[in-house]
């Protein structure tokens, strides 16, 4: 199939950047979206032009690296799907596709479609962990955890930290990401020791990074490739109030 692409090109973090139009021909409907971009880049390299820079790593939907806003939707038109798992059968011959990077002050563009997501790393470092003594692995099931709690923690732990929630949010808020990282420990016994400090520190870091404020529109939940529930944000709100009220 033949496609018209409008892609955000930006030389470096200082460059103003802008949309550039490309035509790409001979795209197989069986190829993934990223493979389609690979085809485009092969053509650009052959012509001696700078290929389009974009992030990708595992290409099997679990690493959270790919980060394209396609026709206004982070990760494209399919629900619960990362860009690398989006296939070109989602499009028709002759389609026009707009490809942009995640847009947020806290995710500055480094080049073309690649953004710096180290703000997420700093939020994680502020408290997104449990402190345990290393050594021998503990016996299985020595800590009884109920099935609902285990399921809930697992649902939150699905978050791959791709940042689609920020990209989709009308306010570039990171609430869904932070709530998943808080929520994955909040119901587990291992998470209780640092529970209060965790939610307070991670929210403080989230605010410091300059993300926007949640207005409960749930665009994040709709865009999340791992279907993280907006209920984790509700839980984090409550956890934050309780922890604030009982911490000096």
């Amino acid at each position: 199939m033949k496609l018209t692409l409008h892609i955000w090109r930006q030389k470096d973090a200082q460059d103003k950047g802008g949309m550039v139009r490309y035509e790409v021909d001979g795209v197989s409907e069986h190829s993934s979206f990223l493979e389609m971009l690979d085809v485009l880049n092969d053509g650009l390299i052959e012509k001696g032009q700078d290929p389009v820079a974009f992030d990708s790593d595992c290409r099997e939907g679990i690493c959270g690296m790919c980060s394209l806003v396609i026709n206004g939707r982070p990760h494209g038109p399919w629900t619960a799907t990362t860009v690398c798992q989006l296939h070109m059968r989602a499009y028709r011959d002759g389609d026009t596709i707009y490809i942009e990077p995640w847009r947020a002050k806290s995710f500055p563009v480094l080049k073309d479609l690649i953004v710096d997501r180290s703000s997420f790393d700093r939020i994680q470092q502020a408290g997104g962990y449990v402190s345990v003594n290393t050594g021998n692995a503990v016996d299985a099931n020595c800590l009884p955890i109920g099935k609902p709690a285990a399921d809930q923690a697992f649902d939150a732990a699905h978050c791959i930290g791709c940042g689609a929630c920020v990209a989709a949010c009308k306010n570039a808020s990171a609430m869904l990401f932070v709530s998943a990282k808080v929520g994955q420990f909040a119901v587990l016994p291992q998470g209780q020791t640092e529970r209060k400090e965790r939610v307070l520190s991670m929210v403080e870091q989230m605010d410091k990074e300059g993300f926007g404020n949640c207005t409960n529109q749930y665009e994040c939940e709709a865009a999340c490739p791992k279907e993280i529930s907006a209920d984790f944000m509700r839980m984090m709100n409550l956890d934050y109030f309780k922890s604030s009220a009982t911490t000096s």
Binding site: N71, R73, G210, N213, N237
Partner: protein
């Protein structure tokens, strides 16, 4: 830093305060509507209520002061949070797409500011009498203000009634998101109760706005008439 200071400085804390001030303003609206609906009970009922309100000046001004404080906090938080939200995305998308965000949720600041403009108009009209002074000056035989006649005369103007009806539509948009949203902001929106809470939010918004709008509508349609049935 105390927990409260930290909380009120955070994004979550300020959103929570938005919710709490929103609840307080909605409670005021409920009380206001109950008072207003006395128009349907006739001239004596609404005048008695209005005079009783004004009789206790200290309580009235205490309530007005509290209401102003709550309102000012709500508006200040809305504007400061919105300014932060705009700064958080300095470069807009070329292709903007909305999946689930409702029109009401996307226009909260606009509808909020228009409701604020309406509120100023409303105070100049029915509280201060700067707009529609003739109707506002209606007096009872004992020389006190005839609130019933003021309201009926005032809303006989299709333009004035029109301003109120349009404003109520805007208020509905604002409340239909706000009264669903605060449950989530305060962490009360548990999935078990969410469908109920959302129905309460939308239902209360509709009841309030239909209730308020019923007064200019029934006056325009001639259902409520001046004392003695005059037009």
């Amino acid at each position: 830093m105390s927990g409260l200071t930290r909380c009120l400085g955070s994004s979550i804390g300020r959103k929570g305060l938005m919710g709490i001030t929103g609840i307080l303003l909605s409670l005021f609206l409920i009380a206001h509507l109950i008072g207003n609906l006395l128009v349907f009970a006739g001239q004596d009922a609404v005048n008695h209520y209005a005079h009783a309100l004004k009789a206790n000046a200290a309580l009235l001004w205490f309530m007005r002061g509290g209401l102003f404080l709550v309102f000012a906090t709500h508006v200040y938080l809305a504007l400061s949070l919105t300014a932060e939200n705009r700064r958080a995305r300095p470069v807009k998308y070329v292709q903007e797409h909305t999946q689930v965000a409702s029109l009401a949720s996307r226009t909260m600041v606009l509808t909020g500011l228009l409701v604020l403009a309406y509120l100023i108009f409303h105070l100049l009209h029915l509280t201060k009498g700067v707009i529609g002074h003739e109707a506002w000056s209606s007096k009872l035989p004992d020389g006190s203000q005839d609130v019933y006649t003021m309201v009926v005369l005032g809303f006989k103007s299709p333009i004035l009634s029109g301003v109120y009806l349009v404003s109520m539509a805007l208020l509905y948009l604002h409340l239909s998101h706000g009264l669903k949203s605060f449950w989530q902001s305060l962490g009360w929106n548990h999935p078990v109760y969410r469908p109920l809470f959302e129905k309460i939010g939308t239902g209360l918004a509709a009841i309030l706005v239909i209730g308020f709008a019923s007064i200019p509508l029934t006056i325009l349609l001639g259902v409520i008439q001046l004392p003695g049935g005059g037009n």
